[in-house]
Amino acid sequence: MAEFWQQVVTGIATGSVYGLLALAMVLIYRSTSVINFAQGEMAMFTTFVAWSVLQWGEYWVMFPLVLLMAAGFGAFIERVIIRPVEGAPILNIIIVTLGMFAILNNVATWRWGGIPKGFPAPPEIEVTGVKFMGEGALDIGPTVVSYHDLTILVFAVAIMIGLYLFFQYTPTGLAMRATAQNPIASRLMGIRVGRMLTVGWALSATVGAVAGLLIAPLILLQPPMMMGVLLYAFAAAVLGGLDSPVGAVVGGLIIGISENLVGTYTPKEWLGPDMKLTVTLLIIVVVLLIRPTGLFGRRALRRV
């Protein structure tokens, strides 16, 4: 039983990262109906930048700095790369995101090299004698949780609550939701639709950057590091419903947990760890056959 809980807890941690990246994709999809295939590479890129910053700075100085840079990076991409193809057929925009995927990947390889690098987990911080994060593990009865897994979970929950409050209670958040639904009516309300899209990309890039920073210590830092994660995140977003932030997170958790359980408990002769991706994706196909809009989605999926 201990092993089962161990797998579930680890699954929740990696699932949160998938959920975060899926959330980043959903943020963009909701407002522009574009699936940003470069989402993972953007996160990889900001993580590399973080690595460079870490060469001369503290982790907790780097962290907010990199998030700010990621926001600027996202806004820049929307303004400079996506804006000119706005209004073009969806397929064109998707090709553009695929192009960004390749460019970011190549630039990262050229600048930082293809050799995998270690990336530190958030170091310990001490608040009035109580230690958070850092090395070690926490014993929670049925199993132990590593501090890093716990950190991932805390960050994921904080971001989700933060985004929820932002979208629910701030005028800008509300305006962004309005823009996603009805751009013309939004203009009549005085909302600058273009600016809302920029903010959306900035937010999305920031959330993605957090996902990158948190997953990098678990997998090594290298240009193709986010490929697998992106696949899981995309699956999570589709499973939850591409237009539902809650769905993205729940989808991420389901995939994280089931991935771990499938890897551990299916017979090694014909499934086992090597087939966990296949089995997970199979589960998704079945869910989508029953509910084409995903678990929480409302809009039907578009074929791309």
Partner: protein, 280 residues
């Protein structure tokens, strides 16, 4: 209050308005009548900035607005309640109303009108910018908090007024807009438009798809808004009978041109109007 001169507007190669001129005096209700496709909605879309006119001029309270965007025009005090209501149908009634007030309460420089900045010379702007940068932070914060309170009160006053006109909206505050009945949706569209506290209201076919009883109620409210709050109204309507009942002045639009313009009393008596639009 609103002055449209020789307005030409087109959707791509298709010209919809061939030189429309009309005037809306402050405090009045002016109606634009006409058949489907005569260019009524196009006129409103050009005035509110959704459609950029090809040529001609539009003046709102003496200020040319034909080169401004829809986002800018609404903050000048003009609300456009578009054809088919265009609600945010997946948001709640209250959220729709909050969005209606967006132009007044949300923008970081909502209080500062663009005119504020225009009346300064380049040097003046630079001085002011440097001054603001220098005194920046604390003063800004204090002002933001003060403004926030004021906006909050403003918002609540506007909300109360809308709920006075449409008590049903207060009851349905947290209902999803898309689940309201047709009449309630029209009320919400009007309430949302009024939340911006406009001095000029552009209303596009408020009677569309509504039962006669409900239409009558809506028109009564339009008249009340005009009378008690002094909101000027430009009303586009297919139901000429009702429109002429509450309007002071009317224009008849035919294939993108003004065919007739007169007081609503004279229009009602006019044979051409009776034949084509009043069905008598």
């Amino acid at each position: 209050m609103l002055k449209v001169c020789d307005l030409v507007a087109a959707y791509g190669p298709i010209v919809a308005l061939h030189g429309v001129s009309l005037e809306v005096p402050e405090g009045s209700i002016v109606t634009v009548l006409g058949a489907n496709g005569a260019g009524k909605s196009t006129t409103l879309r050009a005035v509110s900035g959704l459609l950029r006119p090809k040529s001609g001029s539009i003046e709102f309270e003496g200020q040319p607005i034909d080169r401004l965007s829809a986002e800018q025009i609404v903050s000048l005090g003009m609300s456009h309640i578009p054809e088919g209501r265009q609600l945010f149908s997946e948001l709640t009634v209250l959220e729709n109303l909050r969005l209606g007030a967006y132009s007044r309460f949300a923008g970081a420089d909502g209080g500062r009108r663009p005119a504020d900045r225009q009346d300064l010379s380049a040097l003046g702007r630079l001085q002011r910018y440097l001054f603001q940068a220098a005194t920046g932070g604390i003063r800004d914060l204090a002002r933001t908090i003060r403004e926030y309170r004021q906006r909050r009160q403003d918002f609540e006053a506007a909300l109360r007024r809308v709920f006075d006109y449409f008590p049903i909206l207060a009851e349905r505050k947290s209902q999803i807009a898309g689940t309201l009945s047709g009449g309630e949706q029209q009320m919400l569209a009007m309430g949302r438009g009024l939340m911006a506290r406009p001095r000029l209201l552009l209303l596009d076919e408020p009677s569309m798809g509504l039962a006669p009883m409900v239409t009558r109620e809506i028109f009564q409210i339009i008249e009340t808004v005009n009378r008690t709050q002094g909101v000027t109204i430009l009303l586009v309507e297919q139901n000429a009978n009702l429109a002429l009942e509450i309007a002071h002045y009317g224009y008849v639009l035919e294939t993108g041109r003004i065919a007739l313009a007169d007081t609503s009393e004279n229009l009602r008596k006019s044979e051409a109007v009776q034949r084509s639009y009043l069905g008598q």
